[in-house]
């Protein structure tokens, strides 16, 4: 199996690494320390590994690392950290849209991607926007409420 020397930026940090042709972006990101990208199904079903790849939400398990050469990647920590939370994260806390927290990094990424495209999503828009992110704890209701509230917060100038 060939190896490739690739470069990409993750949350603004430049990374250079050697990857095998069959190494997924998920595995490569976790290998170099971005463990906030969660590994679960590795089949594109659960959405726990969602990242923004040049601004588009993708499942990192369905992208080869080599395909991401030159890309700008954003993980949940590029969207917001404990000290500087994004409105989606703030509202997930406030509305109770987080329980075990394992699916949450992927939910934040998908919700951010949704709000980037649609500033005032309906409940159905949110349902569709999160359809690729499985959550087993919350029953989704409070996640919908959080995304809705985040949209309002952003439109009222509460940051993006």
């Amino acid at each position: 199996m060939s190896t490739y020397e690739i470069k990409f930026s993750v949350n603004g940090n430049d990374e250079s690494l050697a990857v095998r042709g069959d190494e997924t972006l998920l595995r490569a990101l976790r290998r170099v320390g971005y463990v906030e990208v969660k590994l679960s199904c590795e089949g594109g079903d659960c959405g726990a590994c969602a990242v923004l790849l040049d601004g588009v939400a993708v499942n990192a398990c369905l992208v080869f690392a080599a395909q991401a050469d030159g890309a700008e990647i954003t993980t949940v920590r590029g969207i917001g950290t404990e000290d500087d939370l994004h409105p989606v994260q703030e509202q997930l806390i406030e509305k109770g849209g987080v329980q075990c927290g394992f699916c949450t990094p992927g939910i934040v990424v998908s919700a951010k991607a949704l709000l980037d495209e649609n500033a005032a999503p309906s409940r159905e828009d949110i349902q569709r926007g999160l359809a690729g992110n499985l959550c087993r704890c919350t029953g989704y209701k409070k996640i919908f409420e959080a995304v809705s509230a985040a949209a309002r917060q952003i439109s009222e100038g509460g940051g993006s």
């Binding site: 990208v37 950290t81 499985l134 959550c135 704890c137 989704y140």
Partner: protein
């Protein structure tokens, strides 16, 4: 109710680290130089092992150790029956059974090593169906267990024959449930580090760090429980599935043999084929009634599918058999249960612990009864519910109960009477209720130190005024430790932002049984409440000395000790602690109430009981059989709500998880081989499936609970399956779903059956 903290909506205390991806789950744990552990699993449901040759794997560069029956002792383990080995010995008994394990420098090497292990099998006839397993001459799953019966019982209580002889009406039904997985999103894993003094540290997504040592690690490895320090990593969901985690044993054994740290992470496929999913069960019900709708007696016969090994299965079957008898005033009952070994994945506990299955069957049956008696299903239930002060047929003492209020709420909110009058045109409503324990004394004997079902807590305040709670119980993501923080905050008058509850750790924390049986809020919550009261007393004593004011003239509010009469005389809690020379602690211990059941399963297994009623409105496409849940409405009695936001999350999550179980899940075994091996074959509810949910709490203020609280996790899931099936029955004019899940095919068959 003048509490400042309890009863209000709060985020869970670790929400910020979770939403920012900072939480360290087991797969994120950094363990320098850790080897990768992996298991070789049986490809056959049933085969004799003739030879295991690991020599080629051992020679592969990068392989540290290969374990199998060849080099590990014959030390069977199991909670009820010691019927399972670390590695299969004479036979493999299900597809996924551990035959060998390797530890190697990386995953690729470990995988290659597994491929080099040669196992010679003599394939044996598979017995996958429990009824076939009970036939004379059926292949034996365990050669020493005649008839494949892992456990059985037969109980008669009350004047059961007279109840049926003198009944105005009797009804009979059969129900069948399916093999369904906990399907937490985080795959299971554990890590272990052997130390040169012979002790072993273990980390993992575990529901009970204390008990995994005593029922699995210590007996199999020939060590004492104290030789293990087990630390929980926050589980990415558990739902019962992470109580019984063999990955801990694999990691510990590999680490000891390799004398190096080992991480043993399972893939999702391994999780789905080799953990302990919800037990499938076959339930026959007969019930006897008076004309006015009073229950006179019931007969229950159960055949429960144990699978290859018996972990907590006898207790689960017992729960299925007896639980619903305590929800209604039941004068007499006859109950028979048989737990049957098969060559299928061992079944186990999932949220509800058998009560999901039992409630589905009994509450479906009740709607058939209501139909037969010409009564409204809600009225039939309201006539027969247990009440506060009752002692049930089996000896359960009902200390608090608001199930009737919950049902009246559902009836009111759903506009029940009007909607019931309109059924049968593809749209309908149904409801169902349940009772659940808050802790179960039986587990304390089977899994714990003795019959006390204990919990302990330590509350420590430091010189910065920060508070840490040590409890041996554990958070599974449901917010259990947040509940503890809110209770302690209420007691101590210190803002909750200053509280921290680290994950459970046997290395320094006091004993706790762990998270199962909806026990944490009641049992762990009481222990922490006592510890917080103790810490508060110690703080006030220290403050009395520092401020030269008697302790009984002081109070704590907003993190300050204040003189009640002179509010300007005050001192920050941290300063009090600093002046006292360091940390101020409080300790608390609480022993659960109730009894260990006698041999006839008589007694009061829990301190107290929780209740709920779920209602569902469905639309059924009469042409295709597709069912859509339009809305869910439910009422819960958790005694008292501690954290409203967390309690709502439990209800909404439980309802959707239960709906998912009812309508789309199933590992679908065929001759012992499972079809569900990933999340596109094993479907769980997505955001697109989540129905609107309206709900409220009916607080019965339990006399034993901390601030009146009791368990909520399991009453949140138990009734929804029956509520949906009863709504389908109503919508279709009588299509009764007797086999789960509620697939379009089954709905069409039931419509056809109802039309005959």
């Amino acid at each position: 109710m003048s509490e400042r903290v309890v009863g209000r909506p709060h985020p869970i205390i670790d929400a910020a680290e979770k939403v920012s991806g900072a939480t360290v789950f087991i797969d994120d744990l950094e363990l320098p130089d850790a080897l990768t552990g992996m298991a070789l699993r049986s490809p056959h449901p049933h085969a004799r092992i003739l030879r295991v040759d690991t020599s080629a794997a051992e020679r592969l560069p990068g392989v540290a150790v290969v374990l199998s029956k060849n080099n590990t002792p014959d030390a069977p383990f199991g909670i009820n029956h010691k019927d399972e080995a670390a590695f299969c010995r004479e036979k493999v008994r299900y597809v996924g059974d551990e035959v060998a394990a390797v530890a190697a420098v990386d995953e690729a090497t470990a995988r290659e090593a597994l491929s080099l292990i040669r196992v010679e099998y003599e394939v044996l006839p598979t017995v996958a169906d429990p009824f076939a397993a009970l036939e004379p001459g059926a292949p034996l799953v365990h050669d020493s267990v005649a008839g494949n019966v892992a456990n059985e019982f037969h109980i008669r209580r009350g004047a059961i024959d007279e109840a049926f002889d003198e009944a105005d009406a009797t009804f009979a039904d059969e129900f069948h449930t399916h093999l369904a997985h906990q399907a937490y999103i985080e795959p299971t894993g554990c890590a272990a580090q052997w130390h040169p003094d012979g002790k072993i540290s273990v980390w993992g997504c575990l529901q009970s760090v204390f008990l995994i040592r005593t029922f699995m690690l210590a007996p199999v490895m020939g060590m004492s429980a104290d030789d293990f320090r087990v630390t929980q990593t926050k589980p990415g969901g558990a739902f019962g599935g992470k109580l019984d985690v063999k990955a801990a044993l694999m990691a510990a054994m590999l680490s000891r043999a390799a004398e190096k740290p080992v991480k043993f992470m399972m893939s999702l496929e391994e999780d789905l084929i080799a953990m302990r999913p919800r037990m499938p069960v076959h339930i026959s019900l007969e019930s006897a009634w008076k004309r006015d709708g009073a229950l006179a007696g019931k007969r229950v016969r159960i055949v429960a599918e144990n699978g290859a090994y018996s972990s907590l299965s006898p207790a689960i079957m017992s729960s299925i058999a007896l639980r619903t008898d305590n929800l209604y005033k039941t004068p007499a009952a006859e109950i028979q249960g048989r737990l049957v070994y098969t060559n299928v994945i061992p079944s186990g506990q999932m949220r509800g612990f058998g009560n999901v299955q039992a409630t589905y069957a009994w509450e479906s049956h009740l709607d058939n009864v209501a139909d037969g008696l010409g009564l409204d299903p809600a009225d039939l239930r309201l006539k027969n519910y247990t009440e506060k002060g009752d002692v049930s047929l089996h000896g359960w003492k009902i200390a608090s109960c608001a199930v009737a209020d919950a049902t009246r709420y559902v009836v009111d909110k759903m506009d029940w009477k009007a909607r019931r009058a309109r059924g049968g045109k593809g749209r309908g409503v149904g409801l169902a209720s349940c009772i659940h324990v808050s802790g179960n004394k039986g587990f304390s004997v089977e899994l714990g130190p003795d019959d006390t079902d204990p919990s302990s807590g330590v509350v420590r305040v430091d010189e910065e005024g920060k508070v840490e709670i040590w409890s041996g119980e554990s958070d599974l993501g449901q917010g259990a430790t947040s509940v503890m923080a809110y209770i302690a905050s209420e007691v101590m008058g210190i803002p909750v932002e200053r509280f921290k509850v680290p994950p459970t750790d046997t290395g320094y924390m006091p004993f706790g049984m762990g998270a199962f049986a909806s026990r944490i809020t009641l049992i762990g919550g009481n222990a922490v409440k006592l510890a917080a009261e103790d810490a508060r007393r110690n703080l006030l004593d220290a403050a009395a000395e520092a401020m030269e004011i008697p302790a009984d003239e002081l109070e704590i509010a907003e993190g300050e000790v204040r003189a009640k009469a002179l509010p300007e005389r005050k001192m920050a809690v941290g300063e009090v602690v600093g002046r006292a020379g360091g940390v101020i602690e409080g300790e608390g211990k609480w022993l659960a109430g109730g009894d260990v059941l006698d041999k006839e399963k008589f007694g009061n297994p829990s301190t107290t009981y929780s209740f709920s009623t779920h209602g569902a409105e469905v639309e059924v496409d009469m042409e295709t059989g597709v069912v859509t849940v339009l809305q869910v409405c439910c009422g819960h009695d958790p005694g008292r709500v501690i954290n409203r936001l967390g309690a709502e999350g439990q209800v909404e999550g439980g309802v959707v998880q239960g709906m998912s179980y009812a309508m789309m899940e199933g590992l679908a075994p065929l001759e012992g081989r499972l079809r569900g091996r990933n999340f596109h074959d094993y479907l769980i509810a997505t955001s697109m499936d989540a129905p609107p949910i309206e709900h409220d709490f009916f607080e019965s203020m339990d006399p034993y609970g901390p601030y009146g609280a009791k368990g909520l996790a399991e009453v949140a899931i138990n009734p929804i399956t029956a509520a949906i099936c009863n709504a389908v029955y109503h919508a279709t004019g009588g299509a009764r779903i007797r086999t789960l899940p509620v697939t379009p095919e089954r709905v069409l068959e039931a419509i056809e059956e109802a039309g005959r």
